[in-house]
Amino acid sequence: MKKRIGLFFLLIILLTISCGDNFPVIEDLGNTDYRLVDQYANETVFPDNIKGKIVIAGYIFTNCPDICPLTTNNMRLIQERLKGEGIEGVQFISISFDPDNDSPEVLKKFAEIRNLDLSNWTFLTGEKPVVDELMKHVGVLAVPGDSTVFPSGKVSYYYIHTDRIQLIDEEGKIRKNYPGSSINIDEIVNDVKQFVR
C-alpha cells in the first residue's frame, strides 16, 4: 500500500512538471480566422498560417521608438539562441496594432533595416477592425496617448500599449505571457524546450 501511495505521488509530480500545469491555456485562438497580410503584402489567415508550430508572437507598432524595438530585438535574441541550440519548428511573428501606419511596406522596411532573419519570422498587419478584434482576443491593449503635431499640422499618436511577447502552442493556444521589452531570454528558451519534441 505504501508503495502504491509513493507511486501515486511520483505520478502527480511527473504530471506537474510536464507541460500542462506549468502552461495553462490563457486563450484559445484555434477556432478563429483573422485575415491579415504579411510584410510582402501576401494575404494570410492567422492563426491557420502557424498551426503545427510553436509560435513566439510579439505585438508592436513601428512608430514606437523604444519599447517595440526592444521587444523586436529580444525576439531576435531568442531566435538566435534557439538556432544556436539546434531547436527547430519555432515560428516568430510580429503583429502590428497600428495598421493605419504599418503597411506591409513599412513592416518590411522595419525588418530589413534591422537585418532580421525572416526565414522563420513573419510581420503581420491588416484591416483595422480585424486587428482590433485580434488584439482583444490575445489580450493586448493599445490606446492612443501622447501625440506630436508636425509643422504641416498633421498629428501622430503614440500608443500606450501592452508590452508583450507570447508563447503559442501548435494548436493556436496562448500558453504564456512575457514582458516584451524586458523578457528573460533564458526563461522563454527553457519554456520553448518543453514544447518542442
Binding site: I67, F150, S181
Partner: protein
C-alpha cells in the same frame, strides 16, 4: 576625470564641442537606435555634470528628423508602457543623468533618412546654463554591453 576627458576626445574633435569653462556638462556615449526613413527613433547618452551647479536640459535639435523632442518611456498598469514628452530634465550638481532604453530619450520623429548601423548623426542639446552642446552619435541596434 582625465579618463573622462580622454574618452571624450574623439567626440570633441569630431563634433567641435565648445569645451570652455562655462560648459560644465559633458555628453558621453551618444547613440541612436537603428530606424528607417519616415519612421521614428530615439537618441540616448549620458549627461555628466561635474560642476557645483545644477543644469537643465530643455530642448534638442537635429536635422535628422522633422521633429525632435525630449521624451520619457513610462510604465502603466497591467504591463502597459507609454511614452510622453518631458518639458525639462534637471542634471543635479556632481551627478550623471542617463538617457537610456525604457527611460529618458531624445525622440527623433519622422526621420529624413535611414539610420543604419554605424551611421553617424549630429544633434544639439540645449541647456539652461551650458547652452547649446553639439554631439555626434553613432547608430546602433542596442547599446554596447559595458556602458
Amino acid at each position: 576625470m582625465r579618463k573622462l576627458f580622454v574618452a571624450l576626445m574623439p567626440l570633441i574633435a569630431v563634433a567641435g564641442i565648445n569645451f570652455g569653462q562655462q560648459s560644465a556638462i559633458k555628453i558621453n556615449n551618444p547613440w541612436i537606435r537603428i530606424s528607417a526613413e519616415g519612421s521614428n527613433t530615439a537618441l540616448f547618452f549620458e549627461l555628466v555634470n561635474n560642476s557645483d551647479q545644477p543644469d537643465t536640459l530643455f530642448e534638442a535639435e537635429s536635422d535628422l528628423a522633422e521633429v525632435v523632442e525630449v521624451h520619457e518611456t513610462y510604465k502603466r498598469e497591467n504591463d502597459m508602457m507609454g511614452m510622453r514628452r518631458v518639458k525639462f530634465v534637471v542634471i543635479p550638481p556632481k551627478s550623471v543623468v542617463i538617457f537610456k532604453p525604457r527611460d529618458l530619450h531624445v525622440m527623433l520623429i519622422k526621420l529624413k533618412k535611414d539610420m543604419k548601423e554605424n551611421d553617424k548623426g549630429v544633434a544639439i542639446l540645449i541647456f539652461k546654463n551650458a547652452g547649446r552642446i553639439k554631439l555626434e552619435a553613432v547608430v546602433r541596434n542596442m547599446p554596447r554591453m559595458n556602458n
